[in-house]
């Protein structure tokens, strides 16, 4: 038994399930060729070559190009800085991973707290509202600085002093506030009658939430959640402020030593290597989800 009902995305008589995703990964480009025929295709190729080729020629002929090339795209500096930046990037990935473990759980707890009904849960609801207002209101940069520099400086016994710990804490607190609001919009989009039915078969408020409302709510917001993941992946770089030797920090160290910016390009490429596929996947998933939903509405 599959979770989301029988597979139902027959887009054509001869498309097998694997071809559909691959085609949509480059939505807009490959579909153009499929739909517009050979002649239009040739025009498209010619104009693309003309446009980008022309831009390349203009840029490389410009008087400043050699210095730009040496400052940003120097092959020697590229290979010299790559190992350190790559090692730093591995730290980014680990921090990203920890934040990804914390945020969905914390955010869901906040969202559920805020959606509970009845006078007894008033304190929890207030807590959830204060939390989201607070952490959505504080700039992430400020939060990272306050927690990352401020808290360890207090030298309170028992609290960790590691910058990475407080960096993750700041990211998680801030992102959980946003993510909780996403969950809540998904919860609100589940019709009231679903909650009534769940209560009517004897489920408690919590059970109704857990078994009837949340599965539908989460499914409503998966695309929005995935977009948050993409932006989190980039914002992890902000904790380099704390002196943590992540990819950005390593690139900066290299630049300070050599006065060459190529190391930043290395870091840029590493972030893009993750975020572009991720974004493509989100687009693909969102399109598929929309198609499935419109099909299941009889």
């Amino acid at each position: 038994m599959s979770l989301h009902g029988p597979p139902s995305r027959g887009t054509g008589p001869d498309t097998n399930g694997e071809q559909v995703p691959r085609r949509r990964l480059f939505a807009g480009v490959s579909e153009f060729f499929a739909e517009e025929g050979a002649k239009a295709g040739a025009v498209a190729v010619a104009s693309t070559i003309f446009f980008f080729g022309g831009a390349a020629v203009l840029i490389s002929r410009s008087a400043n190009w050699p210095s730009v090339r040496d400052q940003f795209f120097n092959p020697d500096d590229f290979s010299a800085s790559a190992p350190d930046v790559l090692e730093g990037f591995w730290l980014n990935i680990q921090l990203f991973f920890w934040a990804m473990l914390i945020i969905p759980v914390l955010a869901l707890a906040i969202a559920v707290m805020r959606s509970l009904r009845g006078p007894a849960f008033m304190p929890l609801r207030i807590l959830a509202v204060v939390y989201t207002d607070l952490f959505r209101g504080i700039p992430l940069y400020l939060l990272i600085v306050v927690l990352g520099f401020g808290v360890p400086a207090l030298q309170l016994g028992g609290l960790p002093t590691s910058a990475a710990f407080w960096g993750i804490a700041a990211l998680s607190l801030s992102y959980s506030a946003y993510t909780a609001e996403i969950y809540r919009s998904g919860i609100d989009a589940v019709p009231e009658s679903q909650r009534s039915s769940a209560r009517a078969i004897g489920l408690t408020q919590w059970q109704s939430m857990r078994f009837a409302v949340l599965p539908q709510a989460v499914r409503n917001v998966v695309p929005a959640l995935m977009n948050t993941v993409v932006s989190l992946q980039k914002d992890v770089a902000l904790i380099s402020i704390l002196g943590i030797r992540d990819a950005v920090r390593e690139a900066e160290i290299y630049k300070t030593r050599t006065f060459n910016y190529t190391s930043y390009i290395v870091a840029t490429l590493l972030f893009l290597a993750i975020s572009i596929p991720l974004t493509r996947f989100v687009d693909y998933y969102t399109a598929r989800d929309r198609a499935e939903r419109s099909q299941s509405q009889i």
């Binding site: 038994m1 979770l3 989301h4 009902g5 029988p6 019709p191 009658s193 679903q194 009534s196 039915s197 769940a198 209560r199 009517a200 078969i201 004897g202 489920l203 408690t204 059970q207 078994f211 009837a212 599965p215 539908q216 499914r219 299941s296 509405q297 009889i298």
Partner: protein
């Protein structure tokens, strides 16, 4: 149908039940006493409070005054565990409200498994028995959006029956259905009535009410204006309001 040998007290009693939404008074002192195994049909113009009444009986909405008693026990009193009460009452809505992310079998077994703590195998055996009885055995693993409205509604009825309710509340369960699917749902309800299940149903199907009801109640402006066996209420209505309502129903060709 209503031949109870032991003359016990009423199964369900509504005593001066009042309900407002904000300033709007919806129920204005409902008095109604329902015996075991009775089938009560609530009729009345749109907005007269039929759905509200049923929701209040299942404690899905709190009342603002009066009392509701189940087997003589005040279920609207303070300190009563509403979840416990709801397990004794079944309710089915006009729009079925099956959970779209679960198969029919999971929809039907969710309540018993989670609310009553019954083992999956046992709950599924019971579910299959009921699905079989209502002609849905082959739909057990289907998802609600793959089935017709009639099948959805029958599955919703099965879901409400899983906890062996003492009373079943039905809120216009055929109103959302295509005309050709109404019959299959009505025959399920008739079957339940024949087995002696106590039921309260809000309905616009006057022909069916005449057929299956032990008493028909006409609701007007949040009160029970008239309650009588169907032959009486349809044959010789006492109040002008009832007459007017029935005249309009006949005009619309529903009686």
């Amino acid at each position: 149908m209503s031949g109870s040998e032991v003359q016990a007290g009423p199964k369900l009693e509504l005593d001066d039940v009042r309900k407002s939404y904000g300033d709007k008074r919806v129920l204005n002192g409902i008095d109604l006493s329902i015996a075991d195994q009775e089938v009560i049909c609530l009729i009345g113009p749109s907005g007269c409070g039929k759905s509200t009444l049923l929701r209040c009986v299942d404690l899905l909405d709190p009342i603002n005054g009066g009392e509701i008693r189940l087997d003589g026990e005040a279920i609207t009193a303070r300190g009563v565990d509403a979840n416990e009460v709801r397990r004794r009452i079944g309710i089915v809505f006009q729009s079925y409200n099956l959970f779209p992310h679960m198969s029919v079998l999971d929809n039907v077994t969710l309540g018993p498994r989670r609310a009553l703590g019954i083992e999956r195998a046992e709950a599924e055996a019971r579910a299959m028995e009921l699905l079989e009885r209502f002609g849905l055995a082959d739909k057990a693993n289907d998802y609600p959006n793959r089935m017709s409205g009639g099948q959805n509604q029958r599955a919703a009825i099965v879901r409400s029956l899983m906890g062996d309710p003492e009373i079943l509340l039905l809120d216009e369960v055929t109103s959302a259905l295509d005309p050709e699917l109404v019959g299959e749902v009505l025959s399920v309800i008739r079957d339940l009535a024949d087995r002696g299940l106590t039921m309260v149903l809000a309905t616009h199907e006057m022909g069916f009410a005449r057929d299956v009801a032990s008493r028909v109640c006409f609701l007007h402006e949040g009160r029970v204006l008239e309650a009588a066996p169907p032959a009486e209420l349809f044959g010789a209505p006492q109040h002008d309001r009832t007459k007017q309502f029935l005249a309009r129903v006949i005009e619309a060709g529903r009686l």
